[in-house]
Symmetry: C2
Subunit: 575 residues, 2 copies
Amino acid sequence: MADKIFRVNMSDLSTSVEDVPQAWAGLGGRGLTSNIVAAEVPPTCHPLGPNNKLVFAPGLLSGTNAANSGRLSAGAKSPLTGTIKESNAGGTSAQFMARCGCKALIIEGQPKDDKWYALALSSDGVTISEETDLVGKGNHEVAESLKAKLEGKQGVITIGPAGEMKMTAANISVMDPDGNLRSNGRGGLGAVMGSKKIKYITIDPKDGTLDIADPEAFKAANRAFAKSLVDDQTSQALKTYGTNVLVNVINEAGGLPTRNFTAGQFDGHDNISGETMYDMIKERGGKPSHNCHPGCVIQCSQVFNDKDKKYKTSGFEYESIWAMGADCCVDNLDDIAEADSLMDDLGVDSIEVSVAFGVAMEAGVLDFGDGKEMCRMIKEDIGGGTPLGRILGNGAGSVGRSFGVTRVPVVKNQAIPAYDPRTVKGMAITYSTTPMGADHTTGYAVTANVLGVGGKVDPLSKEGQIELSRNLQIATAAIDSTGMCLFIAFAALDDPNCLPALIDLINARYGISLTGDDVTELGKSILKTERAFNQAAGFTNADDRLPEFFYNEPLPPHNLVVDFTGEEIDSFWDF
Amino acid sequence: MADKIFRVNMSDLSTSVEDVPQAWAGLGGRGLTSNIVAAEVPPTCHPLGPNNKLVFAPGLLSGTNAANSGRLSAGAKSPLTGTIKESNAGGTSAQFMARCGCKALIIEGQPKDDKWYALALSSDGVTISEETDLVGKGNHEVAESLKAKLEGKQGVITIGPAGEMKMTAANISVMDPDGNLRSNGRGGLGAVMGSKKIKYITIDPKDGTLDIADPEAFKAANRAFAKSLVDDQTSQALKTYGTNVLVNVINEAGGLPTRNFTAGQFDGHDNISGETMYDMIKERGGKPSHNCHPGCVIQCSQVFNDKDKKYKTSGFEYESIWAMGADCCVDNLDDIAEADSLMDDLGVDSIEVSVAFGVAMEAGVLDFGDGKEMCRMIKEDIGGGTPLGRILGNGAGSVGRSFGVTRVPVVKNQAIPAYDPRTVKGMAITYSTTPMGADHTTGYAVTANVLGVGGKVDPLSKEGQIELSRNLQIATAAIDSTGMCLFIAFAALDDPNCLPALIDLINARYGISLTGDDVTELGKSILKTERAFNQAAGFTNADDRLPEFFYNEPLPPHNLVVDFTGEEIDSFWDF
């Protein structure tokens, strides 16, 4: 079955299935969403108005049985940052969408009435129906309800009440194989889906499969690729402790932003660490390892149970735990798990909103360390859409502006995640320059800066950081186009067999002959396309800067500031 | 006495009196504040952080007895717009400051503790003292208290609770000769003063006078100038009905933005018009005409009493009355006066906050037309600093972002005032291009578009509007540097004797020989300086645009949209 573009117009409730334009034929995932947004969305449009478009695209390898290929990209102009945006997540939707022959789903327009709708996607195209029952419901209930109704056989993409209320920290959630939630977390794309009045999308793969141009070559490449992942040491640590293995590592490095980015180490780090979490999970009968999509061999997810051994949350990530933990000085993992579950249910980015709480604590809205009050505010204020809830649900920048706080850790209005750029200096470049607004995943310099993966670059010096971030951002843009989980990067950086195997997979799937250079060119081209959109939207080099306080306030314990000049940062784009 | 620069550093509580650098010698008012901000403020600094500076400057003619020369300019990087900002007001402070030999007061830095301070300015310089009594008090109480303490002999510059809370719609208020309030309204400069922890500034002129280089020529020029103002027809209308004479005029023109900019005429216009207001003032023993500073011959201000014939408000302007009235569909002038008085007391821009209410009404926070609820929210929410109050007190853009509204009438995040740019097309150019964010005063194309002053340019066509706005913006930047009230422009546009007399005044004051061309060059230079600051802060042509809905939603009754192309708008800067 040839891949098609599925298009939905919410202004007149029409749908169509279109041939793929030649320019998009070799693209998938982020490469495709960013190119579609760049081609079809006016850069200066209001992100929540009818001229923005929401695009979903599986990666180039999604739908195959290639290991770890189940990421779904979502793209639009972001209501949080005003930039182009791509955010990807695991779950089953990417694979099912690909098996429907859907290369991308483009949702445009906006209903003129106040009705809510659901989309049903299959290989026949998309149908639109009015939805009433699940409107206003949390993601947990939506997932439960649809899992039961669809007998767990379909993919689900959904927004929670935050997306319905068009909060700019609203995310989009997808279901994993067990019906738990994963999220396209960053950039407020849930608000875009809400602005189009779509509560959820179901994806029925029926018995759809994909054509593989060279099945034998594909099988061989997949074996080599999976072995590379399974053998990788970092991947093994992720399997045991999840991403939260990083709390102690980054704390030790002095780069764990604490108390709204005023210190680099957190006294309570042991209480919220991956090691402590592992013990709690084992003791309470949870699962330390869990795959978010079929075919994942890293399994960094987990099932975290509460004190009564009942399911509390999964996909419980380091960056969220850091944000609610160290950044808000909450050292109780159960409070953090409760907050994480509540945020998943409301459908908000747990990095953005937790950093927002750190700023709110600095403003005196609640006390640092008060995890219980944080949970109450998430539930009652954000969930209830109170004015305070709107301020928090619109992210860290919103809290800063609302309360006149000047220490607001955002770039392009998106919250800076769990690695302080004063102490992990490669991240200063990534946060500053990525077209996405502050985002650790776009160029994860923590690898060479702290983890000793892919070489070593002193995290405390600016030497070599621009080149490091540039290489990682280019590679990441390409990986984000394959449908691959970014965590394949650890193996790719350490094992010379990994990346060739990945390229072999793509070649075998499509009967083409990409080279490593082609992949690099793809990454460069994606970054340049994204940047051009942002420039047309009004962004300049002045937006490629960290907030002032990172340049002026030394961070204990290393007492360093960000010391890149504007010219140095801008040289990132010399490629 | 030679003019000096008075400088206050709030970080170390030091003060100094400095010679005027040569580059600033010929500047005053806006020309001076904008040049100082451009020279000394890092364009990318946080507007509420220690690196922003707040500058006050009387105009070139302030302190003399030239008619209408009492405007005080305040400048800084705006926390509302992120642009350079100048906002001017009448009152007595400009004249007193000039008589102290203070060409500009530059306030920099920020206290590291939580204390509040007051500044006392005299010809000896500035002294800083801790202030406790009046912190948290409204402007009315501050004015009353200081008027009594200083026996009405000093100028007062103050912020209300909104400025203390660093709300970005916070203004700076000055006292008029009767101790009533006038405001440097726009751009949130009150928040900058609050961020520097200065509650108020007193200005003691003692018996200071100014040197006039050629007293006889000055006297002659002043006679000619004042005659020109007094004879002008528009000025006479302003004297009788105040600026509110415009409600019926702009309603008739179909350009009175109504119900959050969804219509151009307001059914209730008669109830809130200048004519109705005049009758109410007369009936209640108020004053239809009142001067906001000594020497004003236009006297557009007034004293508006309540039903019990007690003082309610003054400086009750068309743009505020329009915003609370037509834009919020409130047709009760007493409710509007109450809201105006409350906003003056809290110290917020009554244009910005009222347009914010219009957006809040569209969001369903309160009902269109509910003036009583608007007053309650101003008092309890903005005054109390509740989360809703912060959202409202941060302006129209803040309300739009907080509640996900897409019809948000702002440019560079500043609320568009009382002339719809779809129907008064010259204003589309002014709002888009002025470096200040949407501001009617910077290039008041209403003159030729609607009032038939300074020629006629069809308001419904884009023909001739760019040139009109350009000429007005250049002239206005120059006038804003003289200390003159902008309302001299009506006479200047209609009477060929007016502008030469103004130039003669400046020449006689300083013993120089400016020509009309010099004045034009000054205006151009100010605009270019301001724009360069904005560009360094990250603004581009993409920011010189009206919100999307003005291009897409036709406005009844003329059913026009804004139809300037980007290239046309950008050609404004071809000078």
